[in-house]
Symmetry: C2
Subunit: 285 residues, 2 copies
């Protein structure tokens, strides 16, 4: 496995690989890899000739009050995990390498940003889209792997790729969970022990909602009320949002039908966790 | 020469050409080709294995009060001119093909837009950058050719390519002029006969400015005043702007030194014309 820190070097390697007819599978990450990332890499490994993992904590997608400085970093550990998984290239640029000057052009996400994480993180998805355009141009991937834990990101990236005619395939990969259901996240390390136990309530509340829908509940507001009550009762966290929207368009719905997403963010003392479930609501018989 | 109207077809042809190791030279245009465009195509022809000319009047770069509807169009003539020049592919998509839905992500140009044409055309360069990202992804060019008549566009595109790490080389090509100095433009056909004669004053005023600078004038304001007076005296057009800026950064300057651009836009009854000169100001001896 090779570690590349230089944009031009990574780009010329990628262009050369494409000339040789090799397919490139790409896993963009902010590092501090966990099994969720490794499941993306494993999928990329199976479906492509060459894999690239990028590790870049992108300042552009953090708000001024967000956790850019404290975002966990451990390159040595990441590197050894990626190598064990059979990865070929780690692209690990510095912030100065990626943004040597204030960018004169950025991406502006016009849709799907006024809900879920977009609502409380203005500019977040503009930063995500901007860095992904850069990374796609540098790494030249055929397929790019994203975890469904951040379902809104997958929906935004789907729009980006479609609207800019980027010749890549976006491959969504199911969320990897701890045994007790907590979604794997780099931010989980910041949970206090008591919070770590409580945090299973996020997934439990989603399971509860799924059961209620299975049993015929059609009113999103009733589901949301029950979920909020459950989270409040079982955790010390503060609910940032719980929403039920159509998927992948992320529009408000007044009745549960078709493909929907139930998604939430809960703030614990030093970690804000997200989770979601995407459900195809059965039609009434 | 082949005409392609379908994005996927153009993109797969381009990707296949790249796999074969062919270089692609690309001339993006809004059609109604004139010798200016043909000089771009001729340069592309010389420096690449394959050439692509796109013809697309991009609605995203026209303001609500601008000339989208009346922008001159003549595909048959364009096609025959491009073929004579030895062009390989014309990419000629419809507006519905390029924008089947309102784009969920667009480009936002953050710099170099508050001067020259950007000032009176808010959103214009966002539209230019958005369509160019799309076209670059579809046509996969190695080199892209732009006329220096729209020097601000070249500066913005340079920033776009740098900041998004797009693996293309931008090749600026000198403005082609009529015998009397008028810069070739698709919009020249909309000039009334008397206006056509007057329009040479744009280029003459630039020549006048160059002479004054050669003779040691260092004050941009004095040059601008003389140019404005000349245009007002010799044309019925209305000056949209005349500016002197640093190049390529397009910043205001109080003294003439280094590389500068003198640029102007003048509105005639049915055509708004632009022209410019880029000058390296000699140091005082």
């Amino acid at each position: 496995m090779r570690t590349i820190t230089d944009i031009r070097e990574m780009q010329s390697i990628a262009i050369q690989l494409k000339r040789e007819g090799k397919t490139i599978g790409f896993v963009p990450t902010m590092g501090y890899l966990h099994e969720g990332h490794l499941s993306l890499l494993s999928a990329a490994r199976k479906e492509n000739d060459v894999t690239v993992v990028s590790i870049f904590v992108n300042p552009l997608q953090f708000g001024p009050k967000e956790d850019l400085a404290t975002y966990p970093r451990d390159f040595e550990r990441d590197s050894s995990l990626a190598e064990k998984e059979g990865n070929d290239y780690i692209f690990f640029p510095s912030a100065d390498e990626m943004y040597p000057v204030t960018p004169s052009v950025t991406a502006k996400v016009q849709d799907r940003t006024d809900v879920l994480c977009g609502k409380s993180r203005p500019g977040h998805f503009d930063g995500v889209a901007t860095v992904l355009i850069k990374l796609f141009n540098i790494v030249q991937p055929d397929k790019v792997y994203f975890g469904m834990k951040d379902a809104q990101q997958v929906a935004v990236v789907d729009g980006l790729v479609r609207d800019f005619n980027i010749p890549v395939e976006i491959v969504p990969v199911q969320t990897v969970r701890e045994e007790d259901g907590l979604a794997k996240s780099s931010r989980n390390v910041h949970l206090l022990p008591a919070e770590r136990d409580q945090a299973t309530a996020l997934h439990q509340s989603l399971k509860m909602a799924e059961s209620a829908i299975d049993e015929g509940e059609q009113d999103p507001q009733k589901i949301l009320a029950r979920m909020k009550e459950f989270i409040k009762k079982n955790t010390s966290g503060e609910i940032d949002y719980i929403e039920i929207l159509s998927y992948p368009n992320l529009k408000q719905i007044s009745r549960l039908e078709g493909k929907i997403i139930i998604a939430m963010a809960v703030k614990f003392s030093k970690a804000r966790l997200i989770d979601n479930a995407i459900i195809s609501v059965k039609k009434e018989s």
